[in-house]
Amino acid sequence: MTATKPFSATGNQMIAEAMRQADPDVMAAYPITPQTTIVENYAKFVANGAVTTEFVTVESEHSAMSACVGASAAGARVATATASQGLALMWEELFIAAGMRLPIVMANANRALSAPINIHGDHSDVMGARDTGWILLFAETAQEAYDNTVISFPIAEDPDVQLPVMTTLDGFITSHAMERCVMEDDETVRSFVGDYAPANGLLTSPTPLGAGMFANGDSYMKSRYMLRHAIQDSLPVIERVGKAWADTCGRPFDVVDAWECDDAELIVVVLGSAAGNVRHIARELRAAGKKVGVVRPRVYRPFPVKQIAEACKGAKAIAIMDRADSLGGQYGPLAVDVLGALASAGQSAPFHNYIYGLGGNDLTNDLVHKVFDDLEKLADGSLGTGGTSYLGMQEAEGAQNIWLG
């Protein structure tokens, strides 16, 4: 293993580098903030002959994913990147990519969805993809965005997985902020991701292959059943590949990053970049003798049910922080998943669900303190369990119209 010296880079640069090192046969992509610099960086690699990739500058994200589907069905290694409205425009194709069992790797710079139009980070876009059959990885840092992208290729292309992988990072916070990063050298990454040469591609199959068939009744349901198992069974593969990469690069990999959870009584569950903000306060509280813990799923689909339940098993109160809402539902998407995981393990604890940081709204230290204060109240019974609130926007709760005051 040889790593570069530490350097400053954005998450998007790190993803572009990981993709360059994996050298996909096809990249079909379309610009959208805050993803654009990934494809711009990649265009430079193409122009400079740093990759063998055929770069398809499509006319929309729908066509980007459509071309990725065609290329992946052909037997190529395929990558792309998008965000927000672009991911939403691909929605139809996300199901098709997974249903056809195509190991496409896509970066998503998580961003709010219109309306109102807003280019900043939240998880509204990626949560719309959570039931599509894609493996979803959430990076906390630019470094992790790199590592997640490297492992995405061998995970997606594993013969037992054969599923698309979305490697996500939070818009602007991780996609654009400069961080201290390192990179393994090209040789190390190339040999880690290996060659992709499936025998069942349109261009590689010895007999004519039919892809994207019409399936009725029983055969449709059977294929969806197989898909359910494929994504569930991918968790051990993700773990194996992630650990192998951790051994190679020396940076840890866990499907769930459970910080100080062994004896934790007050636990916050949070995805992506905000985990750092939460740990920052949690560290102060630990120093003051509070038994707090922070649980961050690095893999969100398949949902690591057992690992989440295990991490929360000593909890006297749990705060689940969602950077997206499930409008008309009772809780945000992460909360629903976490509660399901606890229920399936026969665990329960008082909990509260926070919707925070929509459209890039700051998660301040004060707000994180409020969450921990609430946790104490939940634990001692002075705050009832099962509530949902828009963090920092109490007036919105129950208010008829926040615009009109």
């Binding site: 729908h62 069905a73 052909a74």
Partner: protein, 320 residues
């Protein structure tokens, strides 16, 4: 071009036994177009959602004797772009022999091409993929039950362009998609029908000979939607051409060529409309003016094409 005998000996790319209706123009379009493919070139075929796709790929059966991919309704062109890009990228990476010859073909209905797939097609043509895109134009969304498309002729009945007290079928003229694609400046664009096999196969040969994008718009009658007998498919195409309703033309490197209709073959538009149940209401006396308008449209379009022929006589390719 090979004769009928020779063509009939070519291996079928689309096997019999598919579930398209008897007399469906779609399978005729596929077979004739694929006869234009050189024997030493392997194809990959992509298809948009529609009658052709749902009738030829019903799992676990597959009527295609060549590699085939279906993705969705509006994106056959983008999907085949991806397959073509894979071929190039994999060749560059040494995964496919450098001397291997392949062609990438997309089939879409008029709905999947004129309407919902127009952006995807336009993008693929502009990017210059090595692709032959074939629209089998049956003038409506047949697979979902004969709804109007922008290819549906004015005056035609469709289940979303109904005939009633206040409306006599579709009110708008058909979109001239072939000219729209020609305006992309691609090397080869042509219009033909499944009832003119010589014309269609030779145009397909030209399309396949192009190194880059080519587009064929093929009138492909749907007996079910047009309300004609299943033995009338080829005949109705001939009337479409002989009434000048569907001109046979091509645009080769910017030069427009229009196949004239011989005086002795020339027929009044009614000869094309009358056999089709979808135009039945036009023959009520109070609708005579609609047929007159349609005739004026046909003449105007023919004059437009003659103008393109005249003005492009000395053209050099806009893509040179």
């Amino acid at each position: 071009m090979a004769g009928l005998k020779e063509l009939s000996r070519k291996p079928e790319k689309l096997a019999p036994g598919h579930r398209l209706c008897g007399g469906c123009g779609a399978s005729m379009a596929v077979r004739q177009v694929m006869m234009g493919l050189p024997d030493d070139v392997e194809p990959v075929v992509g298809c948009a959602t529609g009658c052709l796709e749902v009738s030829t790929t019903i799992y676990p059966y597959d009527s295609w004797n060549v590699p085939f991919v279906h993705n969705a309704f509006e994106n056959a062109a983008a999907t085949v772009s991806g397959v073509e890009a894979a071929f190039k990228g994999m060749q560059r990476a040494g995964k496919i022999p450098a001397d291997k010859k392949m062609k990438f073909v997309a089939f879409g209905g008029d709905g999947g091409t004129y309407d919902i797939g127009l952006q995807s097609l336009s993008g693929a043509m502009e990017r210059g993929h090595d692709m032959v895109y074939v629209c089998y134009d049956n003038g409506a969304y047949m697979n979902t039950g004969i709804q109007r498309s922008s290819a549906t002729p004015k005056g035609a009945w469709a289940t979303t362009a109904e005939v009633g007290k206040d409306q006599q079928g579709k009110q708008q003229v058909r979109k001239d998609l072939t000219s729209i694609i020609a305006a992309h400046g691609v090397p080869y664009v042509a219009q033909s029908t499944v009832g003119h096999w010589k014309d269609l196969v030779s145009k397909a040969e030209k399309a396949f000979a192009v190194d880059g994008p080519a587009f064929l718009n093929v009138l492909s009658p749907c007996p079910r939607g047009w309300r004609i007998g299943s033995d009338e498919t080829a005949q109705i195409c001939r009337w479409a051409v002989d009434t000048k309703f569907w001109p046979l033309f091509e645009v080769e490197n910017g030069v427009w060529k229009l196949t004239p209709v011989r005086e002795k073959n020339l027929k009044p538009l009614e000869d094309y409309l009358r056999p089709q149940g979808r135009f039945k209401h036009l023959f009520k006396p109070e609708n005579a003016h609609i047929i007159e308008e349609m005739k004026a449209d046909v003449d105007a379009y023919w004059a437009y094409l003659e103008g393109r022929v005249e003005s492009s006589k000395d053209a050099t390719s806009p893509i040179e």
